[in-house]
Subunit: 279 residues, 2 copies
């Protein structure tokens, strides 16, 4: 009879069986836009692995006893390379821990969430996905710019200015069309090129376009202009990343629908605000 | 000296000054996907005016003392016409009440939120916008289908099958392109036409496509197929609205990334689930 039982090994195996990664969207910045499920996970996880784009207010919702790991991902200087993040998530889950992988916005919209999950799936690590308010939705709501409107846009398209090979090789003919709204994630450095390409591919030079910096935060700044004038206006106002660019007739609706005061110094074409009270 | 003071008029004016409409996104159905701000508003508003597409679990978060007004908006039978909704919101706010206008998904993505706000703005009624998880994000997360992925889709496009004039007159050449994900909101009745048009405009007949019914709810059903086979597969499985259609190579990633068990009877091409535990 084999009376030897390897207790530590059993405990380790049991804990490993319980470990799990929650891929969680942190939303666009305002912590009030976190989902109920995300807030609960942040409060009670064992460890939170988070990115540069997660708002500071969101980080305050992490429980006091929860370990925090910053893995960066600012443009052109990754604190931790993607492969290192993948390895870390697998290791933490195999230690039996409840791991929140926290990403700005929605993890399935330009978040590389799918790529991280593919690694977890290949390694047999259990996971769940908690969507977040993607930047296009959060930012447009706080800027008073509906993404769709029956009179102006019957579709909306989200693209990113940062591609795998580093070039901004977008499908310009598909983007330069009327009756749609185009939202460009993080396209500030390529903004002059983006505006010029959209005009070269058929949109009018006076087509409405806006850049929103620090969307949904107190420091939100909005510049509304046209494809011809946007890049210069944004440079003049000194907007900095993180930014989102919105192109389409819906941008003009901000004149009617702006509801939130902007930060001092944030000049916009629509400066009225019908109410700034907070609930 | 005019000693007469019209107290009721002053009170009415004062209350009117405090009234406000909160245009709130209810998310895709799972109440756990409501934002913190939306949950707080539902608990403490004076009245909630809500649509057909708001999930029953979300309605349970409305405070016990809060008045509820159902205004319907099921397809082809509006309980309250849009103009009646607009008038109601203005009236309730002018009574000095805190009004939550609750819409499924995100109010600025096919929600007519912008149109309702234009009426409020014209009438001088203060408002705020609280974005919600739009159906495309919520449903794709729960179905294990990333909307973007560097190897498969560098953009995603949201369109709706219900247009102002009732016809499904979409911009087919812009939608039938590789390296993008197309999400069609509520397109079930037009599904055979949509699939045929996408193939006629250049996408391969074996291009991956999926329909998700009751996305994010316990009753979620997912059918993955190709443009050539999707309509028949959906009819065979008996899927019903509300539905969302996802078209693009990312659909194939569900084979690897599915993480949530589907309801009984919901046959899918990807039936494995690596974990179904709930936190």
């Amino acid at each position: 009879m084999n009376s030897f039982v390897d207790i530590p090994a059993m405990v380790a195996a049991c804990r490993a069986a319980c470990g799990k990664v929650y891929l969680v969207g942190a939303g666009p910045g305002d912590p009030d836009l976190l989902t109920l499920r995300a807030a609960r996970l942040l409060a009670h996880a064992d460890v939170v692995v988070y990115d540069h784009l997660v708002g500071p207010g969101v980080l305050e919702l992490i429980g006091a006893d929860v370990e925090r790991v910053y893995v960066g991902k600012e443009r052109s200087r990754h604190s931790v390379p993607q492969e290192g993040i993948n390895t870390m998530l697998v290791r933490l889950a195999r230690e039996g821990r409840s791991v929140v992988r926290l990403k700005g916005g929605d993890p399935f919209v330009f978040g590389r969430g799918g790529e991280e999950l593919q690694v977890l799936a290949a390694e047999g690590v259990p996971f769940e996905v908690v969507p977040g308010i993607t930047a296009a939705c959060g930012v447009s709501s706080y800027a008073g710019i509906p993404l769709t409107h029956r009179d102006h846009a019957q579709s909306c398209t989200f693209v990113t200015g940062h591609l795998k090979d580093g070039s901004c090789n977008l499908d310009w003919p598909a983007l330069a069309r009327p009756r749609q709204t185009v939202v460009i994630y993080m396209g500030l450095s390529g903004l002059p090129d983006i505006c010029a390409q959209l005009v070269a591919n058929g949109l009018p030079a006076d087509w409405p376009a806006a850049v929103v910096a620090n969307g949904t935060l107190e420091s939100q700044q909005v510049v509304c202009a046209t494809l011809a004038t946007l890049a210069a206006a944004v440079a003049r106002e000194g907007l900095a990343s993180p930014c989102l660019t919105i192109v389409g007739e819906v941008v003009k609706l901000r004149d009617e629908l702006v509801w939130r005061a902007e930060a001092d110094g944030a000049r916009t074409t629509a400066t009225t605000s019908n109410n700034t009270a907070q609930v």
